[in-house]
């Protein structure tokens, strides 16, 4: 590794992943768990967008000023990530609806107390 600072963005993406999973193991509330899961999702977006960055290239939107074919960053990962963000938010909403249902049934949303209750 010639220049170790060039690998720091990947380390930050892995750090976000690890700290999100740590929050899931420690959480005292299901809403806290869901937000930590969102941090884990954000780590994957960071990793995807850090890989395809090129310092001398512009955004992949062309115009009459910036002719098509000039250098740009990778547009395929952009397309993948932006649909992923919106769909990930909807799956988080599904998890929130499940949280409401659990609260209605069990009366609490503490994941460490739910497993102790039966029926």
């Amino acid at each position: 590794m010639s220049n170790w600072t060039l690998y720091v963005p990947y380390a930050i993406a892995f750090w976000l992943f690890a700290i999100g999973c740590f929050g899931i193991t420690q959480s005292r509330s299901l809403v806290h768990t869901i937000l930590c899961l969102t941090v884990v999702q954000a780590s994957t977006y960071t990793l995807l967008l850090s890989i395809d960055f090129h310092a001398k290239a512009a955004a992949p939107i062309y115009s009459s000023n910036y002719a098509p074919g000039r250098p740009a960053v990778d547009p395929i990962l952009h397309a993948l990530t932006l649909t992923d963000i919106v769909v990930g938010a909807t799956v988080t909403a599904l998890l929130l609806a499940l949280t409401l249902q659990i609260h209605r049934r069990k009366g609490t949303i503490d994941p460490q107390r739910i497993s102790e209750m039966r029926g």
Partner: protein, 78 residues
């Protein structure tokens, strides 16, 4: 790597840890909103305006509204 990218990456890492280590869920919700803003900044600095728009619309508008409703319904009776 320029100074701007280093600062924004460190901001994202710090706010990610702050989301996890917040004590009450209502505090965590507002830290999560600022984490969404920092992510938008990061995506913009990485030359990705489409992704930044997506994250801004979702992470600061739609999701905190739904989480606020859930927090309101599952709060302990005071």
């Amino acid at each position: 790597m320029s100074l701007l990218e280093i600062i924004v990456y460190l901001l994202v890492a710090f706010l990610g840890a702050a989301v996890v280590f917040s004590k009450r869920p209502i505090n965590q919700l507002f830290v999560y909103t600022s984490f969404g803003l920092a992510l938008t900044l990061l995506f913009f600095v990485l030359h990705a305006p489409d992704v930044a728009l997506s994250e801004l619309a979702v992470g600061t508008l739609a999701l905190p509204l739904l989480i606020l409703v859930v927090l309101m319904k599952t709060a302990d009776k005071v």
